[in-house]
Symmetry: C2
DNA sequence: TCAAAAGTGTTTAGCATACACCCATGC
DNA sequence: GCATGGGTGTATGCTAAACACTTTTGA
């Protein structure tokens, strides 16, 4: 009941503050335990999951709106965020029909029209450091948590498509833009960086060639320290040279 | 006067048929006389130019809306059309302020607000065969014609930025996707294809290496004929293998 | 002392670059 | 015949891929 009132209040009092017919959706990638993860939200009183997203204030830049949603869900600032595609099909209900979606989410019939108007949605993906994130649900959701990308269930709307395309874009970028700064802790080992690349690309890489290539980019600084406590030979720790990394992001590797 | 009434009629009777706060803009590239060209519109009663664009019907897919505008301006079907970026800044008036734009276009003060609402605009670029195009102005414009990309004047809104980014995207795609099918006539010579590449990339290419590379892609079929009438040795004519070309577009070269 | 992981260097192959000669055509 | 442009082949260099041995560590 409270939820339905919340929906009504949102529609009547707040929806007009935002641009109509446009929204943003976020594919937030994190890396943990050798797995690529994505942050999903479970809707109130349902078992259904979707990507986080949000609307755009009337006086807010598009990028700023995406950034705001990202901060709200993760608590993070200064993260890598990039637009990758705008989804504009009339029928964006893929796994579940529009009607079925409304029922599953317990949206009262008289609110369907207002709440599920047709939107053009601008898709962004973000790369964040797993350990730094505090997953936080929004007003319409009960739970916010990481899912392994490979194990994501059928999502609401066209969000499985979004994740697929975000990942494809990320893979392509890997070859001409540096990745890692925002997905790894400040200090990391070469094997850790390699696991990240292997996970994103979905294929094994040669240890020696990988190291050569990474070092050749000139973005890494090897520290004196080694990572101890592992069961085997202690690997060196590395750190990204922030300035060079930023420049490489701008201009390509 | 007629123009102002047209504007009023549009706002009152037609604007509601479209999604609000979203539009599409098109950068239509053509190739002629060894120059890369872009199709621009001159607004009624003004000397100011902009990219063609349009709004999205409430029951129309985003891509379909872009495609429809493209057909209306060029008369063409079956052209290469691709989304490249969504422009969502609040202030998209770059060369001329919002106020100045209204004055230059002769928009009555009482219509500023309605007609120049803030829009998020999805940018598409298209590649078309120059000779096949019939440039056609829309209801708000007097003239539609090709401009050399390098000589485009300061445009309305953020359209110079759009062209710049469209061109950048096209250049990047050149290296992993085939280009040419939609920019050249069905039969063309290797030197013609090379001019096209050189024009897009803005730099000269080696004749011999270019030919080797193009043929290595396996997308070209050499015809028996040669192009006669030129002042020099008759070059062979080539044609794209449409099936392989389509496959290469999907999967990358 | 052994298994598992990490550090390092060399060889090889493929692709992109650089480059030179011959042929056809119009003036 | 000569200037201009078109057709073709080969040598070279660089980057990416393939690959092996040694070192460190905890069990």
């Amino acid at each position: 009941m409270e939820y339905k009132n919340e929906l009504r209040r949102f529609i009547q009092e707040e929806l007009h503050q935002y641009l109509s017919h446009v929204s943003v959706d976020l594919t937030i990638f994190g890396f943990h335990d050798g797995q690529l993860k994505v942050l999903l939200l479970r809707w109130k009183g349902s078992d259904d999951w979707s990507l986080p997203g949000g609307r755009i204030h009337r006086d807010e830049n598009l990028d700023a709106a995406a950034y705001r949603s990202l901060q709200e869900r993760t608590g993070l600032r200064e993260i890598y965020l990039q637009q990758f595609h705008t989804f504009g099909e009339v029928e964006r209900y893929k796994n579940f029909s529009r009607q079925e979606t409304a029922v599953r989410l317990g949206i009262p019939a008289d609110l369907h029209g207002e709440l599920f108007r047709r939107d053009v949605s601008v898709g962004y993906f973000a790369l964040v450091e797993f350990a730094e994130v505090t997953p936080t649900p929004d007003r319409f959701t009960d739970e916010c948590r990481w899912w392994e990308v490979a194990g994501v269930p059928p999502l609401l709307f066209d969000h499985n498509d979004m994740i697929r395309l975000a990942l494809k874009t990320l893979r392509q970028q890997l070859s001409y833009q540096p990745v890692g700064y925002n997905l790894l802790p400040e200090k990391f080992t070469m094997p850790e960086l390699q696991r990240l690349y292997e996970t994103i690309l979905g294929k094994p890489l040669d240890r020696r060639n990988f190291q050569k290539q990474m070092l050749a980019y000139g973005l890494l600084e090897r520290l004196e320290e080694r990572k101890t406590g592992g069961a085997h030979k202690a690997p060196f720790l590395y750190r990204f040279d922030r300035e060079k990394y930023g420049k490489a992001l701008e201009e390509g590797i």
